[in-house]
């Protein structure tokens, strides 16, 4: 027994697995296989097939295995077409916290396809969805981020939506956020957290 030169995949393992056809039709079938590992491989491969977006989105609603869910969300993030983005946005309304949070993480990375939906999300009737929308802005590389955040702290009536937005303004805020931050302090004068976070953001924006 010793060090041996190996192969990328040992030929003796799981006969047939590498010969599995990877065409769209077979992959869509494998996405429903009872073996979660096969479902993960199928979902990963389907990330290269825009035509599979609908199947991935509908699998997302039924999938019970957390590891497969993660891979499907990633696949939709890689596809990043409008159908995929809508599928991910739907997750913000899910009761499954893991699914919701994973979708938020992926949406954060997709500024261009996410931007057209941001206005609507930030005005959703459910304050939790508005908070999740603000969470998406955290890492979104989009020029409008600051403007969206300013609008939230000026107009959103829910304190926790504002609290989430003001946290981000400490990072992305520029001089144009100053008035909005001051106004926010006026709107919630009795709330120590808002005062703290707005002061911190103002301090970080600094004087210029």
């Amino acid at each position: 027994m010793a060090l041996k030169k190996g192969q990328p995949t040992p030929p003796s393992h799981s006969p047939g697995e590498r010969q599995d056809a990877r065409n769209l039709e077979t992959l869509l079938q494998t996405l429903l296989d009872e073996d979660p590992s096969k479902r993960r491989w199928a979902a990963r491969d389907l990330a290269e097939h825009p035509a599979a977006t609908g199947a991935l989105v509908s699998r997302l609603r039924r999938e019970t295995d957390a590891t497969v869910l993660q891979v499907i969300v990633t696949a939709l993030g890689c596809l990043a077409n409008d159908e995929a983005i809508r599928g991910l946005i739907d997750c913000l309304y899910s009761e499954n916290a893991m699914l919701r949070n994973t979708a938020i993480e992926v949406l954060k990375e997709l500024p261009d396809p996410v931007a057209p939906h941001m206005g609507e999300l930030l005005h959703d009737a459910d304050p939790d969805v508005r908070i999740f929308a603000v969470n998406v802005l955290e890492s979104l590389r989009h020029p409008q981020v600051e403007a969206w955040l300013v609008e939230v702290i000026l107009k959103d009536e829910h304190i926790n939506v504002c609290a989430t937005a003001v946290d981000l303004l400490g990072e992305v805020g520029g001089p144009q956020s100053r008035d909005a931050l001051a106004a926010l302090k006026q709107r919630f004068p009795e709330e120590p957290y808002i005062q703290f976070a707005a002061d911190l953001a103002l301090k970080r924006i600094g004087v210029e």
């Binding site: 041996k4 990330a47 400490g170």
Partner: protein, 281 residues
Amino acid sequence: MPKSTIISDEDFQKFREFFYRKTGMLFEDSKRYFVDKRLLERMTATGCESFRTYFTMLRFQASGAELQTLINAMTVNETYFFREEYQFRCLVDSILKEIITHHPASRPIRIWSVPSSSGEEPYGIAMYLLEHWPQLEHWDVEIISSDIDTRILEQARAGLYASRAIQHVPAPLLKKYFRRMGAQYQISQTLREAVEFTRVNVHDTADMRSHRHFDVIFCRNLLIYFDDLSRKKTAESFFDALNPGGFICLGHSESMSRISPLFQIRRFPEAIVYQKPLEAR
């Protein structure tokens, strides 16, 4: 120096939080001088006159290229033999000890080292096993090592190193496993024949699909350069490249806790590593 090129305390805090979120690297106050110096260098290089301009570029640049460059500047990215050696100790003293409790005796234990770079890591692992893992008498071990860069793979296969790369190799090992060739050192034929080098782009699903059934993956100081989505995708591919109960070792400033919830955190005396649950399917 104009006032605006000074990095204020608030700028530093803001930068520190952002960088921590993006990379998991947290700079203590004592690193302030180092951080400021690197930031000012990058500001000069990119023509940004104020920290604010630079930070906005870092935060919003679509390609993320400046963030990558900055991570490079903030990390000491040198390859040499036995870099982060505590992980090799962890491999022989803890990880393999656990793996052999459930590994089928008829099958080799498989280790994947990505990226191979010029081969210091996979050859280092091979040496470590030969020197410090007596169980090698009873088990076959295969080491596969991959890189995206075919030129560096050729270099790795040739196994020729300048003296700087071997500075941490103890003299007896140097004598045993290297041959002096002019100003360079070549790794022994036995070791060169023990490691299989392959070309892999970790972003490519087909490349990743062809590398499977590993018990241990070393992927150190690679994921830190990726954006969040690529990082997550790569970690998920590694999950499926591992056998159930297999381990993944990341670089010392990297944490799977920032990347994917698929793995379990395992604390061994030598290091924190991440495990695909034994019961995972």
